[in-house]
Assembly symmetry: C2
Homo-oligomer: 477 residues x 2
């Protein structure tokens, strides 16, 4: 059984390690329909903890939750030219319902800009109806051919925010604000460092004026786009005729935004922090922050178990997410492996001698063991959990920085982009990006806000750089 | 504009009153596809408050949230004979995806027993894997012909709980426990009285051994089935081959349950409590519990508004959901009507003389106005909100009891069932139920747990009663 839970080492086959760990740690399973996934309780609890923080921040920034229907008439998707081009190939289509063939086929929503645009055209009359600050938690369907659990499945869970504003300035501010909310959750809750910035023209959302993303580095050096926030300009407003009468009595088109954060973040957490033993979860999000493993034989059971139960109760009351593993059928060693696989940050071991001495052994999933006074745990644990959160972020940041290079030669670019991120100058031309992708499989990830002003020649073609700074390249999930 | 918000009286056309109030109070709108709805922020906030309580109670009773895919292979639905018979006519079917025709068409889930059964067959090996206590929040699709906002839409939001157990006893206990959780939320949070009990054979869920429901009375005397909890026996276990090795080394089929609570509860709240002025929302669920309407002219604005803002901040800090209506463009009278329409339980009016005297006028959506000291409000309001919650329930209970009759003659039955609920004896035969439905449009609602033991002759055919008590009949939504 212990062998059952063993993983292939990351260094041997990162891709296979990932597939094994998400399945064996009970985060997820394959659904019966090709490309679908079942999010299991442990994986869902992680997602719920992320949801709770995002939802709180959305409400603090004035947004309301709503629900728009799953089915979108195909004709809606065709109204915005770039949008339909981007999404048409991936649509799942309902053609029959209630035993009859539908007059107009219905797309299962791949994203809701069009159906929300349709409703806004009806709801928005004057500037007093603006801004519209909406969000919804749901699932969307995009029929992808190459799928990977959490990262790319034909159906995935997400939230999609949609807002409409009277002015471009307000809409752009919103686009940036929500990208900022995402960056906060990724950095402070998921412990995932990343580069935030606009995508290049070739990589933006289908229908956007521009898109901002957060690009994180996985432990194989590849990039994972962890969320996006789009300024849609008046593209959808014009396609759906969303006009309002402004204070100056003029009819104007609204400016819209949309922004999404998906269950792929679970994959990002796994691949940013995990190691050959399994997951390592950030304490702020971990469904179980502390696991208590009582260590006893038949004759010491009645000494150890009540003490463990008492400790678990005490920590629970403090608001710590604690789990007491009192399963009799498994050995402590088996349990240690299992909770390491599942990435629980801290483990408390409690044996008969510990109970006698009023101590416990505190082990960290990041390494290290110490003997602590049980009476001190209420004081000790909150700080240890925060320290763990901090250390995990620093560890990921160090890894990222060690695998990021400023590069000015295409030969070095090709070599380095196999190992991590490259910051380089680029001419800004789509064809040149396409060439780089064809030659290296790397793509532009974003134009990082944090990158200082600089000028140089395009890494591939030598033309002057277009962005006033180096931009980020990587192979991406 | 005020006229715009006017409603047809309930007594004139209850059905039309309902349609007007849910739309004008901004709970919901019609979606673009026939039979669908858009849940707007105000309606969704109400649903979220219900969700939060249910979710908390599910977790307290040991359940975990999960997510199973939207798409179910048609062949899965065909495995349980009664289930497919019940759901096949209402399926929406995806036949094309990713630009190609699918080999096997996919049903958009009408409910998830089958796909969860499929996964359980894979996950469950021994008694140690039991019980499985799962829940998911999602939407389902049932292609109904006659639709009505919140009550019956082709897509609706709900939660579906699914559990698997080693024994019948445990599964039946679970079925009853979750019906009890629902009854608690309906009574204590929604302020909706009802009768809880098993459905008759004709009215049970497609695939269940039996179903328990909670039957509430709307203000037109009709019944609304507000939730259901099903004991599924081994029906799905056998259809999907969900076996486990028990402690005695024998392979056995599990016993499963399922239970669901939907957005139709919003319709139930509207039709249980609403009046000719609009909604009346239970304070425990109301998105806005107290609205503050400042009353001022240009010269008193600077006196009144800061006091109103201060009061709003103070109440917010106490955890009261308060809204300050400081819109300059509307008169106080307009605002009173609007917040009455939207069912806000308590209104505080604050004028210049009030500010001077340190008072405010407190008006209840259930009637009555009083002048109160602003300094007393923090002490006063929590109690008033609880009192409102209590009064609302009592009002509904009284209405229900005044419209419920014990009847022993079929002639009186026919007359009374036009006005409310009837408790009568029944022979238990399906054909007899069918006849009653054909002759009166009334159906059996449930066999109430609370009903005392009694024996008599079937209200229609005169045969001996089958249930050992009177059962509940009504016309139903």
């Amino acid at each position: 059984m212990a062998k059952d839970k063993g993983l292939i080492p990351q260094s041997e086959d990162f891709n296979e390690w990932y597939n094994e760990v998400v399945l064996k740690a009970d985060l997820v399973d394959y659904g019966p329909v090709r490309g679908t996934m079942v999010v299991k309780p442990y994986g869902y609890a992680l997602w719920e903890n992320i949801q709770r923080e995002l939802d709180r921040m959305f409400k603090e920034t004035g947004h309301s939750n709503t629900y728009f229907p799953l089915f979108i008439p195909i004709s809606f998707l065709q109204k915005e030219a770039e949008h339909v081009e981007g999404f048409a190939p991936e649509l799942a289509v309902v053609t029959q319902a209630g035993g009859e063939t539908l007059e107009e086929p219905l797309a299962v929503r791949p994203t809701s800009e069009t159906i929300i645009g349709h409703m806004w055209a009806k709801w928005i009359r004057t500037y007093r109806d603006l801004p519209q600050l909406l969000n919804q938690w749901n699932s969307v369907v995009r029929w992808e051919l190459r799928t990977k659990l959490f990262l790319r499945t034909t159906e995935f869970l997400w939230q999609e925010g949609h807002t409409a504003h009277a002015t471009q300035e307000e809409a752009e501010e919103e686009t940036r604000r929500m990208a900022g909310v995402y960056a906060t959750v990724l950095r402070e809750w998921c412990a995932i460092p990343g580069w935030e910035g606009p995508k290049t023209e070739s990589e933006k959302f289908a229908g956007a004026v521009y898109s901002i993303s957060y690009e994180a580095m996985m432990r194989d050096g590849k990039a994972l786009q962890s969320c996006t926030s789009h300024y849609l300009g008046q593209n959808f407003a014009k396609a759906f005729d969303i006009q309002f009468q402004d204070k100056d009595q003029q009819n104007k088109y609204v400016h819209t935004t949309s922004w999404g954060f998906t269950t792929r973040v679970v994959g990002a957490i796994v691949m940013t922090h995990g190691d050959d033993k399994g997951l390592i979860l950030p304490p702020r999000l971990a469904p179980i922050q502390v696991v208590i493993v009582p260590i006893y034989k038949a004759e010491t059971r009645e000494t150890v178990l009540p003490a463990a139960i008492q400790l678990a109760e005490q920590l629970k009351k403090m608001g710590i997410r604690v789990f007491l593993d009192d399963r009799d059928q498994y050995s402590p060693g088996f349990k240690f492996n299992e909770w390491e696989l599942k990435g629980v940050p801290l483990r408390l071991e409690l044996g008969p001698r510990d109970v006698e001495a009023g101590t416990a052994v505190l082990a960290s999933r990041l390494g290290g063991k110490e003997t602590v006074q049980v009476s001190e745990l209420p004081n000790l644990l909150p700080g240890r959990l925060e320290q763990f959160q901090h250390d995990l972020y620093q560890r990921a940041l160090q890894f990222r920085d060690e695998h990021t290079w400023e590069v000015d030669s295409y030969e070095v670019f090709k070599e380095k982009v196999e190992q991590g991120f490259v910051k380089a100058f680029h001419c800004g031309e789509k064809d040149c990006e396409k060439q780089i992708k064809a030659e290296t499989t790397a793509t532009t990830r974003c134009i990082p806000y944090d990158e200082p002003e600089a000028h140089g020649s395009c890494i591939r073609c030598g033309k002057p750089s277009a962005y006033g700074k180096r931009i980020l390249f990587a192979k991406a999930y």
